[in-house]
Symmetry: C2
Subunit: 309 residues, 2 copies
């Protein structure tokens, strides 16, 4: 049996094609997101919400949610409403962060930012609309196969990841730190734990909750997601220095220009990359007990450090 | 029995003191809202959220939620998390509506608006933080005595009342209508049904859902709330013309100055007031079958048309 299992494991690993996997899941997410927001009167607000939501992101967050739910024995159907919700929340945070009163960005995902197309007023409202829909969608669309208590737990996690204890709090400290050159590593970690890692953690952990994962497994998933969350941010910082605007689809070199403290500015690019690789290895090790079922999440972790945009 | 019931009814009506009732409930809500948002790092965002949330509103929305839950046989404890959530959602919509990119208001509830005190960036984030907390709070704090499925239904209703099919959609049409003098009654109704009535309806209906009200009773509650929602807006329009800034706590005469179509501008003040009275009478009649238990909600309906600020 052991020999067969090992053979099967090697075969599964060999068979697993991350590019195909990501593409398939991305298409599933794109279809679900497209159907989540039909255009009705007043058209403009639905169009503004769709403009940013369907702007062709990589769908890393929803895919993490789906993959975790499947690894823990759940189905794609169980997790899809939450997967859509995390992408709505992520998109909403980008729309509001890009506003002139915040980071004042003109480009995002290679397209004009929401307020450059629809105006600041509509952009603020499109963010609010996406946020409201995210919670409504989870509560309304999650199938009966998921225990109602677990759906409520997902809503608690999403609210926390988004609010003052998550994305919002991270953005506040980020804004306060702007232009200062004496930011501590502690503050930098706070910003990224809240602006980036909190939502990634929610994606993974909510996928587990939806599948009915045990408290112990939720702990494992939490450590996996915290590691890839930090690795993700380190790579983002490196790409801001090394990648071109065309590759990023958003303004490049912004951190340097804004005199922002980043991981590469503290550690150098080489050491930052080594740290990211180490975090990914730790993340993958957390999932060892799930065997072959963990292959997609482990491959996604490696993908995060190897991406160039 | 009938004679005793009638005697009891008259006695209850006579005993009911709306001013005392509202004051007691307002204090309960203020305490719960105060406890809902402790100040932790980063302090500024929690302070900004608290600044607007605890600015001393009348708490009409949360009180409607509590009163409905009690009328339908539920308790204050069952409804308090949702009552807090509707006030968070209402406050968030005021913060965002007051922004320079929207209605550009300097005063609200007699105090400087959020962005005048904390800046536009923090005001946008304070709104987002309140919104996230509203959903998290309902999911996390609603006691086990409420069926989990009913809590999810409440979240669906709140999301809908807030999003593009509610507040957000109403604000979009309101912004589009600004400065136009040829707005139809249909458009005006759309704006108010979405900007004002949708959230009032959610307050009332969610109070019923939390108490486990039947579908038929939810229908009655819906009609009650739609009638008081429209009456509320008509009175708001009248007060914008007749009340002073001191009474309103916000800039008075804004609608006239902005050349906005309002109910008084279409019907005149006299007819508008008569229409509001008629709507309140219809609202009260909807609750006739609940007997004396409906006294608070009926008194609140009358309060709406008699208020002078």
């Amino acid at each position: 049996m052991v020999a067969t299992d090992n053979f099967q494991k090697t075969a599964d690993s060999a068979r697993f094609n991350l590019a195909t996997y990501l593409k398939e899941r991305q298409q599933l997410c794109d279809t679900a997101l497209d159907q989540a927001i039909p255009v009705v009167y007043p058209d403009k607000i639905y169009e503004a919400m769709r403009y940013s939501l369907l702007a062709g992101g990589k769908r890393v967050r929803p895919i993490l949610c789906l993959a975790t739910c499947e690894m823990m024995g759940g189905t794609i159907d169980m997790a899809m409403p939450t997967a859509c919700a995390v992408e709505m929340i992520h998109t909403m945070s980008l729309i509001h962060d890009d506003l002139p009163a915040m980071d004042n960005d003109d480009y995002r995902r290679g397209k004009l930012t929401n307020h450059k197309v629809y105006g600041e007023d509509i952009a603020i409202l499109a963010g609010d609309g996406l946020l409201a829909l995210a919670f409504e969608f989870v509560a309304r669309q999650t199938p009966e196969t998921v225990a109602r208590e677990n759906v409520l737990q997902v809503i608690v996690r999403l609210g926390k990841a988004l609010g003052a204890a998550g994305l919002v709090g991270g953005q506040v400290v980020d804004l306060e730190s702007e232009g200062k050159s004496d930011i501590s590593l502690e503050t930098l970690n706070f910003i990224h734990n809240h602006k980036t890692a909190a939502l990634l953690e929610a994606c993974v952990v909510c996928g587990g909750i939806l599948a009915g994962a045990s408290g112990e497994d939720i702990q494992r998933l939490t450590r996996y997601s915290q590691n890839i969350g930090l690795a993700f941010q380190i790579i983002d910082d490196i790409l801001d220095i090394t990648a071109t605007q065309e590759q990023l689809g958003k303004t490049a070199g912004k951190d340097l220009k804004a005199n922002k403290i980043t991981y590469p500015s503290l550690w150098g690019i080489e050491e930052s990359r080594a740290k990211a690789d180490q975090l990914v290895a730790q993340a993958c090790a957390e999932l060892a007990s799930f065997g072959d079922k963990a292959i997609p999440l482990q491959a996604i972790a490696h993908f995060i450090t190897s991406r160039n945009h």
